[in-house]
Every structure is written in C-alpha cells, then in structure tokens.
C-alpha cells in the first residue's frame, strides 16, 4: 500500500496558506469591530449634542437628541380631572440641536410632578421602522417627591402642547396653547406660592422631543421619578 508523502515545499506552502487565512480573517473581523465602535453618536467630536439647562438648579445637560416625537395624549372626558400637575413653569422658547445638526425652537416646561390619572396614550409618531408605545393601564407619574420630601423635578422640551386645566373661571372649557400668555400667568402664580398649587386637568396633547427627570438621590428603595405601574412597553 502506498502512502502519499507531500514534498517539504508543499508542507511549507500549506502552513503559509493557513497562517495567511488566519491573519486575513482576524483583520476582517477586527476592522469591522473598530469601524462600528469608532462612530460618534452626535457628529464629529459629538458637536451636535444639545446644550440645555434645567429650570431648577440650572443643571447642565448635553443630550444627543433623536429628533423623534413622543406624543402624550389624554382626551377630554367631560369635566373630569384626568391628570394633576404641580409647580408648572414655562421657561420660554429655546433653540435645540438634534443629533444630525439640525435645530428646532422648542418650548421648555418644568414641573415638580405630573401625574396621569387615566386615559393616557404615550407613543412615538416618527421613529424609524416602528413606533414605541408606553401604555399604562391607568396611572403614571413623572417627578414627585424623594424619600427626603424634596421634589424630583421634570423638564420637558416640546414642539407643541395644549392643555385643558381646571383654572379660575374657565375650567376645562378652553384649551390653553403652550404659547398662550395665560400659561405664563400660571407660572407666575406658582412661583409666588411657597407650597405651589396642584392643578387638575381634563385633557392634554404634548409633542415631546426631550424629557429629563432627575433624582439627586437614586436608591434601591426607590425615589423613582418615572413610575409606570401596570404598564406595557411595546413596538408596533
């Protein structure tokens, strides 16, 4: 029986080809990994990050904004209160930069707590590929109070907003646009009262570009500025 014996040259060639194959494969995978890791999320040098400040404490924020609209809607159901808002403040209009470098004038609002009582739909409207829905069966709250009793403030930057608030004589009958001077009046009234009032509202429509809620003392016990009991997070 004969056994094939390759020449020394053939053996050397086989080893060289194997080493070359290994190097090429490693380089291909390494290049791909570094290419995906190298891209900055907000343009070269992260230059497209927004430069924002919170109303309370002037906390500096540098978010990289997605430019996706998150719509919070609570339709009217008679004159029944469907949300509560405490210490609402309108800081004014600000030019805000998005991740792609484009800008938009947004209204900046702040509140100590915003509590949905029922009927809220929270859903993105222009995300790529599919929309994100946050669906509480009833209640949801943003902000509130920490264990220490200190308020946990929430700031939002919105492109549009309309409220129906139980206010003075107009009750929930008249929608108040975010640009309405009446909202500025509410802001002044809130600032003047030490324990700012909680307002009840019947309906709201808010196009949110960015929301930040900040608890200075996060704890496993849970100060939780965002509370979504019995809630489904889904994609559709």
């Amino acid at each position: 029986m004969s056994t094939y014996q390759p020449s020394r040259r053939m053996q050397s060639l086989t080893v060289i080809v194997a080493v070359l194959l290994f190097v090429v494969t490693w380089l291909a995978l390494a290049t791909q990994t570094s290419a995906s890791a190298a891209s900055a999320p907000c343009g070269p040098g992260d230059a497209n990050r927004a430069a924002l400040k919170t109303v309370h404490g002037e906390r500096a924020l540098r978010p990289c904004l997605s430019k996706v609209n998150l719509k919070l809607s609570i339709p009217q159901d008679g004159l029944r209160s469907r949300f509560n808002v405490k210490e609402i403040r309108r800081a004014g209009q600000e030019t805000v930069k998005f991740a792609d470098g484009s800008t938009e004038k947004l209204w900046h609002l702040s509140f100590a707590s915003f509590k949905v009582l029922d009927g809220a739909t929270i859903r993105t409207t222009d995300n790529n590929d599919a929309q994100v829905s946050i669906t509480p069966d009833k209640e949801a709250s943003f902000g509130g109070a920490a264990d220490s009793g200190k308020p946990i403030y929430t700031d939002v930057w919105v492109s549009a907003a309309t409220f129906r608030i139980n206010l003075l004589l107009i009750g929930c009958l008249v929608p108040i646009d975010v640009s309405n001077p009446l909202l500025a009046l509410v802001t002044v009234a809130n600032s003047a009262i030490p324990n700012a009032i909680t307002l009840g509202g019947c309906a709201i429509d808010m196009d949110i570009r960015y929301l930040v809620s900040y608890s200075d003392d996060p704890s496993s016990a849970g100060n939780y500025p965002v509370r979504l009991p019995n809630t489904t997070l889904s994609l559709s």
């Binding site: 791909q32 907000c42 990289c64 997605s66 939780y224 889904s234």
Partner: protein, 235 residues
C-alpha cells in the same frame, strides 16, 4: 518478504492527507460560517439565546445603567434569517427574581417546547445576577406597582446610539446597545430601572457574565402547552 519489509508495509507513517483534508475543510467551513454570522451580527460572541420568538417571564428585575431603544434585530423566522425592528433593553448590571424562557421548536414536523427556568422560589430575593445584559423584545409588560419604574437621571428622547450603559476602564462604551446611527431612533436612558412581574415576547438575550443563577431547570416537552405564558411567574 522479510520481517522489516512486512512491518513497513503495515505501519503507516506520515500525514493522512485525505483525513486531514476533510477535517481541515470542515474547520475552514465552520470558521467562515461563524465569521459570516458575526459580520452580520447574527451571532455575537456572547449570545446565549437568539432566534425564534420566545416567551419570557421574570418576577422582578433591577438594573443599573439601563438603556432602551429601537434596533434592527436579526432573527430566525421559519428557519430563515430575517431582520426586523425590536425594542432592545440593556443594563450594565442586572439582578433578577426568577426567570423563565421558553421557545417552540419543530423537529421532523413535531412541535416541542424547550423551557429554561431558574430561581430560588423566594419573591423577596433577586438571586440571579448578571453583567452587561441585553434582550430584544416586541412587548414587555410590568404588572402591579412598581410595574416599570426608572430612577436617577431619566432621559427620554435621546438617540439610541448615544445611550450609556456599560463602560471600559471608567469610559462609557460607544453604542453599547448596537443601535443604528443617526436621528430617528428613539432612546430612554436611566440610572436605575426596576420592573416587576414581567411578561414579554423576546427575540434575543445576551449576557456577558452570569455571576449567580441558582435553581436552573431545562425541560423539553412535546406540544406547545409548557411555555412560560402558561406558567405562574417564576421567583
């Protein structure tokens, strides 16, 4: 024939190139296959569970440095790889109170349910601990109160590729959830996330390091009735 020549005739020396060639060809094919899957992000180096839609339920989940965004996820549908949107939830550190994962498999036309569960049966402990975990879902529901709670600095509306979860040497890892780049990809970032009584539909689960996972049980049952959806939530 002399004894020497008989021995030379029966004892083969040198490389068996036929056998070695077959093994080398299989090895090269496997390497190319794995490389291709990795290049397509179908197979990451640490994937533990990916493919067909699966049911998941968890008694409680506490994560630190939590990110949530929309990604394009590769999955297997009827044996074919396809790409579709998924909600990716990631955390730098994860503690779970019980875990159940189940998936329907068809072998030779017969349906089976593969179910993996873990936990210590105690609803007051988060006995499963892991690092750098992500899971792809199309829906997730947190029952009761807290349900889905977020703590620390919570940001809603940031771009998916800017989320901060894991870090290397104190520096945040770039795009840890592998989100597509550019605007139009919604993201949520939070210092701490706490979810309770979770049920969801999942496409993938990746974890870099499982520190503790007591009470692991694996079952393969004919039919589709043994899924996590049909069981009480594991603790």
């Amino acid at each position: 024939m002399s004894t020497d020549s008989a021995t030379r005739a029966t004892v083969r020396t040198g490389t068996r190139w036929g056998r070695a060639g077959a093994l080398a060809a299989a090895g090269v094919a496997a390497t190319i296959g794995l490389g291709t899957l990795m290049s397509q992000n179908v197979l990451a180096t640490q994937v533990t569970f990916q493919g067909n839609p699966s049911q998941v339920s968890v008694g409680g989940l506490t994560g630190n440095k939590v990110g949530i965004t929309v990604v394009r996820s590769t999955r297997s549908v009827d044996g074919k790889l396809t790409t579709g949107p998924a909600l990716r939830v990631g955390a730098a550190g994860l503690q779970l109170d019980g875990l159940c994962l189940s998936q329907k498999q068809s072998i030779a036309g017969i349906d089976y349910t593969v179910r993996v569960s873990a936990g210590d049966g105690n609803s007051s402990t988060h006995e499963i601990q892991a690092q750098d975990a992500t899971f792809d879902v199309t829906s997730i529901k947190g029952d009761g109160n807290p349900g889905l709670n977020l703590d620390g600095v919570v940001e809603i509306g940031v771009s998916g590729d800017s989320l901060v979860t894991t870090d290397t040497g104190g520096e945040p890892d770039p795009n840890p959830l592998g989100a597509p780049s550019g605007t139009g990809w919604f993201g949520i970032n939070s210092g701490v996330g706490q979810f309770s009584n979770i049920r969801g539909r999942m496409y993938g689960f990746k974890v870099s390091e499982v520190a503790k996972m007591p009470g692991v049980r694996i079952s393969v049952t004919p039919g589709t009735s043994d899924s996590c959806d049909s069981k009480p939530i594991q603790h």
